[in-house]
């Protein structure tokens, strides 16, 4: 009984990012790099502006010295329901799967970079070079994640390998997938020390993400989407920072 329900259950993976809690520590970035076999970003990569960071922390300065405040916003693939990157790929290398994920099929990609141009959030990354890892890291590569060769696009997958593993496990055991399971959560969510990032199933009314969404977005709270006017309907929901002593309106949001 539980098994069949498990199989047919509709899922919509999503994330809530509470900016009020983000301290800009970049733990999520490092966790992501190691989980997903992202080549080490050396200084040269940043100078070439070709660094690959599936999740990155945007930092803004607010106010005039000495009353300067740092603002952080983690940006990752928004897994839009209406993703602009999907229709432009000539070879279906990027498409929407049944669980609401915007997935990238590395094998199909020929590297037209069309999707990267059409992503308003600029969260798609191109492998300009063959990936290189220092010798000390070579045995540390995650066997569940493809090492991407040069010439193809990549981006945040919501750690789809972890989702698959848990789904498989749950199917074998006949148990439901638990919300907030650390084995299910993407690496960035597990690494976050302040519980800024919350991951879960937006279709499940009891999950933390859908409760947060109902409270903050549907009923009107701090929730918002990035670039709502583009109509991409992302699955990542941001919660505004609350600052009683705010100097001025943030740059956007």
């Amino acid at each position: 009984m539980a098994e069949s329900a498990q199989a047919t259950q509709k899922r919509q993976w999503g994330m809530v990012i509470d900016l009020d809690k983000c301290i800009g520590c970049q733990a999520c970035v490092v966790a992501c790099q190691s989980e997903n076999n992202i080549p080490v970003n050396e200084e040269a990569h940043f100078n070439q502006r070709r660094a690959i960071q599936w999740i990155h922390i945007q930092r803004y300065w607010e106010g005039e010295w000495p009353h300067v405040k740092a603002r952080f916003i983690p940006v990752l693939c928004q897994h839009c329901d209406n993703a602009p990157c999907e229709p432009v790929c000539p070879v279906y290398a990027t498409y929407h799967n049944t669980e609401g994920l915007n997935v990238q099929v590395y094998n199909r990609c020929v590297g037209t970079r069309f999707c990267a141009n059409n992503c308003p959030y600029v969260v798609r990354f191109f492998n300009f070079w063959e990936p290189a890892y220092p010798n000390s890291l070579k045995n540390q590569l995650n066997p569940d994640v493809t090492v991407r060769s040069r010439g193809i696009m990549e981006k945040c997958t919501f750690c789809v390998q972890r989702i698959s593993r848990v789904r498989r496990q749950a199917k074998n055991d006949g148990t439901p997938i638990a919300d907030g399971d650390r084995a299910l959560n993407p690496a960035c969510v597990n690494a976050c020390p302040t519980d800024t990032l919350v991951f879960g199933d937006l279709e499940d009314p009891n999950s933390r993400v859908s409760k947060l969404r109902d409270k903050e977005l549907v009923e009107g709270g701090r929730g918002y989407h990035l670039y709502e006017h583009l109509g991409t309907s992302p699955n990542v929901i941001y919660l505004k920072k609350v600052d009683k002593h705010a100097v001025e309106e943030p740059a956007h949001a």
Partner: protein, 458 residues
């Protein structure tokens, strides 16, 4: 004004075939030099294949730069042929006759140059591009995504290439027969094979004329669709604000005609300078193409104006930031000024003077200037647009081309020039039969003391 020099048919043959039958002295060195430049580009491409797109100057978010600029530029040039051949043929403009073939051949070679620029060298894994250009991916059961403008693109360009090649071949048949009759041995055999048994019977002439007119009419929608689709590579996206504009398709088309017709004028000047065909290409022809260019340039400028007005009309921040970057920020400010001057404000006022339109030198300078400007136009649409200085974009960088990109750019120019020269050596670059047909139809009417040129109409 009676400017045409009346040649008899024999003289036409002699003038136009002398370089096909013989070889001018400068020909081999010129082709050799261009071949070397082209080979340098091939070498650069090999390096690119070996190392990856990293050898280019592209970065995130400037994912497209020289590659797409060259692609759009060469597709633009390719619009010359059909503009001259099809539209002027359908409107029965007499001055088209000596120019048609050069324009069509330019179309074919620039289309191949465009294909070199975009699908061939542009993708991250060029050895897999054919999976989407020629959709034979049966093994994996994945067909190309027809919603992608990049799938519309190859089909339109390939259709266009096929149609314009047919155009060239059909117009070549009678001339090939003329060469067949004037050569001996192996060459005669080859030309005899190529002319597909042309004997000049009335039925053959009729079929050839009908095919030409039918192709002209059928190729026009293709012509319009090609650059519309190229513009939709950019405009259907919402990721880049500066590209998402409805005017793009007409804007690109008229821009393509602007650069294409200018390129044809450049080629015409070169034809006179290199092959001494001044008895066939008269100042009249330059005058006519100059007048056409004034109209085309003005319409293009109007489209440019509309694009700008509506970019500012939205008053949306990203759009305003982009426009500011395009016009006022380094290094785009000098490029933008150069573009405006070279594409419009230098050539068009000059073309208003009859003396300029009839001067080979000035037509050469102005039309080269237009194409410099039009290349910059595409560059300025693509690169500053794509930089999109947005809040979620942590790389607010710029873009500099690497030597590899520049070598590939020069290689495309060398390829087209070399192609034209080789073609001119092997086939007559001016259609003999068209010139003769014009001579037969040419007439004058005397009105008082005035002599008015006239032609026979059906």
């Amino acid at each position: 004004m009676q400017e045409h020099i009346d040649l008899d048919q024999k003289q036409v043959n002699e003038t136009l075939l002398k370089d096909v039958v013989g070889t001018p002295r400068w020909w081999l060195p010129a082709v050799g030099f261009l071949g070397m430049v082209f080979l340098a580009g091939v070498g650069a491409f090999g390096y690119l294949l070996n190392k990856g797109v990293g050898v280019w100057g592209q970065n995130r978010p400037v994912f497209w730069a020289f590659d797409m600029t060259n692609f759009v530029f060469w597709i633009g040039i390719s619009h010359a042929g059909i503009m001259i051949s099809a539209i002027l043929r359908l409107t029965q403009a007499e001055w088209r006759r000596p120019v048609t073939r050069a324009a069509e051949v330019l179309t074919v070679f620039s289309l191949t140059a465009a294909l070199m620029a975009a699908p061939l060298t542009h993708t991250g894994r060029p050895w897999r591009s054919w999976l989407w250009i020629f959709p034979y991916d049966f093994e994996r059961g994945v067909w190309p995504n027809v919603r992608s403008a990049f799938v519309w693109d190859p089909s339109a360009v390939m259709t266009y290439l096929t149609a314009s090649t047919l155009f060239v071949i059909i117009a070549l048949l009678p001339d090939l027969a003329v060469i067949r009759d004037r050569t001996t041995g192996m060459r005669q055999k080859i030309y005899g094979f190529l002319c597909l048994g042309w004997r000049g019977t009335p039925r053959q002439w009729k079929l050839q004329a009908v095919a030409g007119i039918l192709l002209s009419a059928l190729v026009l929608p293709v012509f319009v669709s090609v650059h519309s689709i190229v513009s939709w590579d950019f405009a259907v996206q919402i990721g880049v604000e500066g590209w998402h504009s409805t005017i793009f398709a007409p804007y690109f088309i008229i821009g393509a005609i602007h650069s294409g017709v200018s390129a044809v004028a450049t080629v015409m000047v070169l034809m006179v300078w290199l092959f001494k065909w001044d008895k066939v290409l008269r100042p009249d022809h330059f005058d006519a193409i100059g007048r056409l260019l004034i109209i085309v340039a003005t319409v293009w400028f109007f489209a440019f104006f509309l694009e700008w007005v509506f970019a500012l009309y939205t008053l949306e921040k990203p759009e305003l930031v982009l426009r500011e970057l395009q016009v006022f920020k380094m290094p785009y400010m000098p490029l933008f000024l150069t573009f405006l001057v070279t594409a419009f404000f230098f050539p068009v006022p000059l073309w208003l003077f009859k003396n300029v339109r009839r001067s080979l030198f000035w037509m050469f300078v102005t039309t080269i200037s237009v194409n410099i400007g039009m290349w910059l136009e595409r560059f300025l649409i693509i690169v500053p647009g794509i930089i999109r200085r947005q809040p979620t974009e942590f790389n607010w960088g710029s873009y500099h081309p690497s030597i590899i990109e520049i070598l590939i750019l020069t290689a495309t120019f060398a390829w087209v020039a070399m192609g034209m020269l080789v073609f001119a050596k092997v086939f007559p670059l001016v259609p003999l039969f068209d010139i003769k047909e014009g001579m037969v139809g040419r007439h004058v009417i005397k009105i008082g003391r005035k002599i008015v040129p006239a032609s026979i109409r059906e």
